[in-house]
C-alpha cells in the first residue's frame, strides 16, 4: 500500500539546515495498523505529513497504492489527498461554522458528489461513529471525544485507501482516548489501513505494528500482539 525508499527531508531554520529524516525505508501492507513512535523531534510527524502529501520530500521515492508520488504540485496533491487519504488531527481541525454533518460532507464536496448523496453518505458515517443525533450541532457544542469522532467520520467519508492519524488522542483524556482507539480498531478490522503517530506507549500497543523513530532514522520496527481498547473502556 505504502512504499518508501531512502527518504530524506530537511528544514531550513535561519542559516542552519535541520536534517529531520535521514534515509527512511518503510513499507505498509494493506489492512495494517501501524503506530509510529518517537520522542518529540524524532521526525515522526514529518514522516506522516510527507505520506499525507501535506509536505514534500527532498529525496527518495514514495509510492502509494502503486502510484508513484512525484512532481507534486498543489493541484495534483489535492487530488491525491482527496482520493487516497483521510486525515485525523490532534486538534481535530473541524470548520467552526459548519455543523458536524457539513464537516463530514466537505471532502465529498471536493469529490463533486451531489448534495443529496453527500448528505446521506455523511449521515451514514456519523452513524458509524455513533453521532447521528449530533448531526446538526456545531463543533463548539461537542466534547473533545465527539469532535475527534466527527473528524474520523470526515476522514472515512471520502473512502480513502489509508487513514493518517497525527496524535489522535493527544488532546483527550485516557478514557476518551481509548474510546477513539476502539473506533479506529473497529475501522481497521473492516480492512482499512491506518497509520497512527503517537508518543504514548499504551496507544501504540493498541496497533498491530510499532515503528520507532529516533533522530530521523528507524531504530526499531516490529509486529506486536494488539491490545484491544474495548478491554480498557
Amino acid at each position: 500500500m505504502i512504499e518508501i525508499k531512502n527518504l530524506h527531508k530537511s528544514y531550513k531554520i535561519g542559516k542552519n539546515e535541520l536534517h529531520v529524516l535521514k534515509g527512511i525505508n518503510f513499507s505498509v501492507e494493506s489492512g495494517e495498523m501501524v503506530a509510529i513512535m518517537g520522542s518529540s523531534g524524532s521526525g515522526k510527524s514529518t514522516l506522516l505529513n510527507i505520506i499525507g502529501m501535506l509536505d514534500i520530500l527532498d529525496s527518495g521515492t514514495y509510492t502509494l497504492d502503486g502510484v508513484p508520488i512525484v512532481e507534486l504540485n498543489e493541484t495534483k496533491a489535492a487530488k491525491y489527498r482527496n482520493r487516497f487519504l483521510g486525515f485525523i488531527f490532534q486538534s481535530f481541525n473541524l470548520i467552526s461554522y459548519k455543523t458536524a454533518l457539513e464537516n463530514v460532507a466537505l471532502p465529498l464536496y471536493y469529490q463533486k458528489i451531489s448534495r443529496k448523496e453527500r448528505e446521506s453518505k455523511s449521515m451514514h458515517y456519523l452513524e458509524k461513529v455513533g453521532l447521528s443525533n449530533w448531526a446538526a450541532h456545531l463543533p463548539n457544542e461537542l466534547s473533545g471525544g465527539q469532535k475527534q469522532r466527527v473528524a474520523i467520520a470526515r476522514a472515512l467519508a471520502a473512502e480513502p485507501k489509508v487513514l493518517l492519524a497525527d496524535e489522535p488522542t493527544g488532546a483527550l483524556d485516557s478514557k476518551t482516548s481509548y474510546e477513539v482507539m476502539q473506533l479506529l480498531q473497529q475501522i481497521n478490522d473492516e480492512g482499512k489501513t491506518i497509520l497512527v503517530v503517537t508518543h504514548e506507549e499504551d496507544i501504540a500497543k493498541m496497533c498491530k505494528r510499532i515503528v520507532n523513530l529516533k533522530d530521523g532514522v528507524i531504530i526499531n520496527d516490529e509486529k506486536i500482539n494488539q491490545k484491544r481498547a474495548i478491554d480498557y473502556v
Binding site: 501535506l54 498543489e74 471536493y110
Partner: protein, 409 residues
C-alpha cells in the same frame, strides 16, 4: 465554477460569518456613499457658480464709442466718436458669417408717471434682439418687434418693479404711461435675473428715441452677439476685425486705444470657465481620493479576511481542495458581497443627494447631482479593485502548503 452547489457553499460562509461580511460590505458601501455625496455636492457648488456668473448671454460684445487720443486723418485729438444707424447696417452687411444679432442701446433718464404716481427711471432705446442679449424674460405681453422699430411706435416694455411702483396691484398692460411729456402704451412687463436695477428700467424702440431727439440717427452704444459656433478663438478674431473696421470707418489711428472700447463677454466667460474648471479639478481630486481610499479599505479587509481564513484553507486543502477551488471560493464570495454592497452604497448616495436637494442653497450648493455614468463607473471600479485585492492574498493562501496553514493559530 458557477454551479448552484458552489453558491450554496458561499451563501453559507456569508451567513455564518456576519462580521466579516458586514466589514467588507460596509467599506464598499461607505466608500461609494462618500464618493457620490462629495461629487454631488461639488457639482452643486459648480451649479451655483454658473448661476452667479453666467447670467447674461455669453456670446455678446458691448461696443462703446469714446474720444480719440491721437490726431489722425486730418482730425485733431479729443474728437468724440459717435455711432449712427449706418454703423449697425454696415456691421450686418460686412460680418454676416460672425453675427447672430445686433442692437443699438440708448440710455436715457426721465420722469415717468402713471395717473398720480411718478418716479425717475432709466429708459432704454433698443432693437428687438436686445431681449436675447440680456436674457430678458417676459412675464406678460410682448417685447418690441421690428414693426415697432419701423413705425417708431410709442410702445414701452416696463420692468417688474416699475409696474409695482406705478401701478400697484393694477394691471399695466394697454395702459398709458408718460415719459418726458409723451404718452407710451405699455405692451409688456419683464423680469431679469440681473437684479433690482434692471427691473427698474423701461425698454422702448430706439427709433422712437431718435425721432424724439429731432430725428437724429445717432445710436450711442451697440450690443451684438456672435454665432456661438465660432467659439472663443473665432470671437477673438471677430473682435479684432471689428476694431479695425470701426477705426477705418471713423478715421481713427490704428494705435488709438481710447476711441472705441469693445467689451467681449467671451473673454469674461473664458475666465469664468477657467475658474469653473478649477472647481471641476478640485471636485475630481476629492472624488478620486475617496475612491482610492475605498480601494485601499477593501484591499485591507480582503487581506484580513484571507488571513483569518488561513486555517480553514489548510483544512480544505487537506480534504482535497485544489488551489483553483480555493481562489474561486474567496473571489466569488468577495465579488458577491462587493456587488450587493456597492449597489446599496450607490443608491444610498443618490438618495442622500436627492434628499439634500436645494436645502443647502445658503451654502452655495445648488441642486447637487451626480451623473449616472460616473456613479456606475465608480461602483464598477470599486468592485473590480475589490476582486483584484482579494485575488492576490487568495492566490498566496491557496499556494501555502497545507501543513503551514494548519499550524496557523
Amino acid at each position: 465554477m458557477f454551479s448552484s452547489d458552489n453558491w450554496q457553499e458561499i451563501f453559507q460562509t456569508i451567513k455564518k460569518n456576519k462580521l466579516r461580511t458586514f466589514l467588507s460590505g460596509f467599506t464598499v458601501s461607505l466608500g461609494l456613499l462618500i464618493f457620490i455625496t462629495l461629487l454631488g455636492l461639488g457639482n452643486g457648488l459648480k451649479n451655483s457658480f454658473n448661476q452667479f456668473f453666467m447670467d447674461d448671454a455669453t456670446n455678446s460684445f458691448y461696443i462703446f464709442p469714446g474720444q480719440t487720443s491721437i490726431p489722425y486723418g486730418g482730425y485733431s485729438v479729443n474728437r468724440t466718436i459717435e455711432f449712427k444707424n449706418d454703423d449697425i447696417s454696415d456691421i450686418q452687411r460686412n460680418f454676416p458669417e460672425y453675427l447672430e444679432y445686433i442692437t443699438p442701446k440708448m440710455h436715457r433718464n426721465g420722469t415717468i408717471s402713471y395717473k398720480n404716481e411718478s418716479n425717475s427711471y432709466t429708459y432704454i432705446g433698443v432693437a428687438p434682439s436686445h431681449q436675447i442679449a440680456e436674457k430678458t424674460i417676459l412675464m406678460k405681453g410682448r417685447f418690441i418687434n421690428e414693426l415697432d422699430i419701423k413705425n417708431k411706435t410709442k410702445y414701452a416694455v416696463i420692468g417688474r418693479l416699475v409696474e409695482d411702483d406705478l401701478f400697484g396691484n393694477e394691471n399695466s398692460l394697454e395702459k398709458y404711461i408718460v415719459i418726458n411729456y409723451t404718452a407710451f402704451r405699455v405692451i409688456g412687463v419683464f423680469q431679469d435675473e440681473g437684479g433690482d436695477n434692471q427691473e427698474r428700467s423701461i425698454f422702448i424702440p430706439y427709433s422712437t428715441i431718435q425721432l424724439q431727439e429731432k430725428n437724429t440717427d445717432k445710436v450711442n452704444h451697440i450690443v451684438l452677439a456672435f454665432k456661438p459656433e465660432i467659439g472663443y478663438e473665432g470671437a477673438m478674431i471677430f473682435e479684432e476685425k471689428l476694431t479695425t473696421f470701426f477705426k477705418e470707418k471713423h478715421s481713427i489711428s490704428p494705435d488709438d486705444e481710447n476711441a472705441i472700447y469693445i467689451r467681449n463677454v467671451a473673454d469674461d466667460m473664458n475666465e469664468n470657465q477657467q475658474l469653473s474648471g478649477v472647481l471641476t479639478l478640485i471636485v475630481s481630486f476629492v472624488g478620486i481620493g475617496t475612491l482610492i481610499a475605498g480601494v485601499i479599505g477593501i484591499s485591507n479587509i480582503m487581506v484580513f479576511v484571507v488571513k483569518e481564513r488561513t486555517k480553514e484553507i489548510g483544512i480544505r486543502k487537506a480534504l482535497g481542495a485544489t488551489p483553483f477551488s480555493i481562489i474561486t471560493m474567496i473571489l466569488q464570495e468577495s465579488i458577491f458581497i462587493t456587488v450587493i454592497a456597492g449597489y446599496f452604497g450607490l443608491f444610498m448616495g443618490i438618495f442622500i443627494l436627492q434628499a439634500i436637494g436645494n436645502k443647502l442653497e445658503y451654502y452655495f450648493i445648488l441642486d447637487p447631482y451626480i451623473d449616472m455614468g460616473t456613479a456606475i463607473t465608480a461602483t464598477i471600479i470599486l468592485i473590480t479593485f475589490g476582486a483584484f485585492a482579494g485575488y492576490l492574498p487568495a492566490k498566496r493562501a491557496a499556494q501555502i502548503r497545507p501543513i503551514v496553514a494548519l499550524n496557523d493559530k
